[in-house]
Amino acid sequence: MIEFRQVTKRYGQQFTALRGVNFALGRGEMAFLTGHSGAGKSTLLKLIMLMERATAGQVLVGGQALEKTPRRRIPYIRRHIGVVFQDHQLLFDRTVFDNVAMPLQVTGVPPNEIGRRVRAALDKVGLLKKEQLNPISLSGGEQQRVGIARAVVNKPPLLLADEPTGNLDPALSSEIMDLFREFSRVGVCVMVATHDIGLIETMGQRTLELAQGELVHDGLPAGVEIGHG
């Protein structure tokens, strides 16, 4: 689903955010992306989202090489990627329902079907009863779940999460992680960037660790190495 081949990203002449990164993530696979702040986690996610372009190497999403994607095709790539943000990026000038409906409106899903799909997504994150509320009236955990509902409402094959539990307490965090694991079980490729080591250890999933732009670890957090291209 995602494949990085010798990917390097430089900002200007001095700063190298990623250095020759190689890994591949398959359909239905779930992985954590970890490392100190500034290690290159956000850059890596931005490359997948086409918010940045690689300086060298190849990024493939769904088998498609991104470096040749013209600007006008970017929206169509993003429609296949659900993203959950640390600051959840919800809009407070509309209801929960309208927030979740955005990816569907963008792709031109017929209005009657939007209702059905939005409710299905909200049901999945347990917020069906709050669809008409303004997200500002929800708790932090609920807001994050609205963000997740929005990320999965159009059933993307790939789900990215950038510090999704950054502002949440441990109980809420593991609740959210369980949600992600459920998505990966139904075939969604899930990648979660986090520096919450405790969470990673309890989840026992494949972990990619970045340090100063280099991939220094790829495998289970316990230290059991698994070979990956």
Partner: protein, 326 residues
């Protein structure tokens, strides 16, 4: 066959929907964008009205001038009809000959009316003119000839026909000189042209002003909806999707500005109609300010919509690209 097609569609993009649905959702997004943009303008009535009024005033000015130009051109014909020919006879021509010529010329199809000004009457008029009476006292007798003033018929009021008529009158016996005074007409036409050009230049400047005002207003709207634009881009909104609400904002401002301009012109013309009527009366003219007709109103509103859209398009083109997720 059906099976392969089903497989193909399953293998393709997940969000693939039939074109009929695509079209329906495209229309539905247009409808929603239009409605949302209108609601946003309604939610800030004062600032919307201000922007609309700026646009309205800027459009009302050239509209009013163009309408006034139209009115002037319409009565131009009426004034042309008054373009008269003064026929001066030779000094030895007697009153009998004058009456004969007058009688003959009135039969001419090109002549609408003939007025005889006998030499004594001409002298009396001259004496009554201030500043001249003293000078005239030095003259022996009356040096002025009899004069005939011909008003051409309505059908012969073009300059060429008048020249032609004057030429024929010159041939008549006893005629010394025929004066065709077209200078005032040319002056009027020249003035009308100057006014027309000035109106066009003013209209151009104001139109640019209108586009800039709308562009600036839409730029502010883009700034205030930054987050929304970023989220739309993150979830795969295309440029045209992101653009649409702002283009509708421009269209609504255009509609508002156009309607206000129309209203302002109507009010201004109503306010002017009294004095203009009196002025026209003093000049014995049928001049009347032509209120905007259906054609003009449709044209005005159409222009306003286009200008609003253009302003929005410009702002969107310049600023929307900069609003990208970071």
């Amino acid at each position: 066959m059906a099976e392969t097609r089903q497989q193909a569609s399953r293998g393709a993009a997940r969000a693939r929907t039939p074109w009929r649905d695509q079209l329906r959702s495209w229309f539905s997004h247009h409808r929603r964008s239009a409605r949302d943009s209108a609601a946003r303008l309604r939610n800030a009535p004062l600032s919307s009205l201000m922007t609309g009024l700026v646009m309205g005033i800027a459009l009302a000015l050239p509209t009013a001038l163009f309408l006034i130009m139209g009115s002037i051109q319409q009565i131009g014909g009426g004034w042309e009809q008054a373009g008269r020919l003064s026929v001066y006879l030779t000094p030895e021509t007697g009153m009998a000959r004058v009456e004969e010529l007058a009688g003959r010329w009135i039969e001419n199809a090109a002549v609408g009316d003939v007025t005889v000004i006998p030499r004594d009457e001409a002298m009396a008029t001259m004496r009554s003119s201030e500043g001249l009476s003293g000078t005239l006292d030095f003259l022996d007798g009356n040096p002025l000839p009899h004069t005939l003033v011909l008003t051409p018929d309505r059908a012969y009021r073009e300059a060429a026909a008048l020249e032609d008529l004057a030429e024929r009158l010159r041939q008549a016996e006893g005629v010394s000189e025929v004066k065709l005074d077209l200078a005032w007409l040319q002056r009027l036409n020249a003035m009308a042209e100057v006014l027309g050009r000035a109106t066009q230049a003013l209209a151009l400047l104001l139109v640019i002003g209108v586009v800039l005002v709308i562009a600036n207003t839409v730029r502010l709207a883009i700034e205030s909806r930054r987050r929304e634009i970023i989220v739309a881009r993150l979830v795969g909104g295309t440029d045209s999707f992101v653009r649409r609400p702002f283009l509708y904002t421009g269209l609504w401002y255009g509609a508002l500005g156009g309607l206000l301009a129309w209203w302002l012109v109507e009010v201004a013309f109503w306010w002017l109609s009294g004095p203009v009527g009196r002025l026209a009366e003093l000049y014995n003219s049928g001049f009347e300010l032509q209120r905007p007709g259906i054609d003009e109103v449709v044209l005005l509103l159409g222009c306003a919509l286009v200008l609003g859209w253009l302003g929005a398009w410009w702002a969107v083109h310049r600023h929307l690209r900069a609003v990208e997720p970071e």
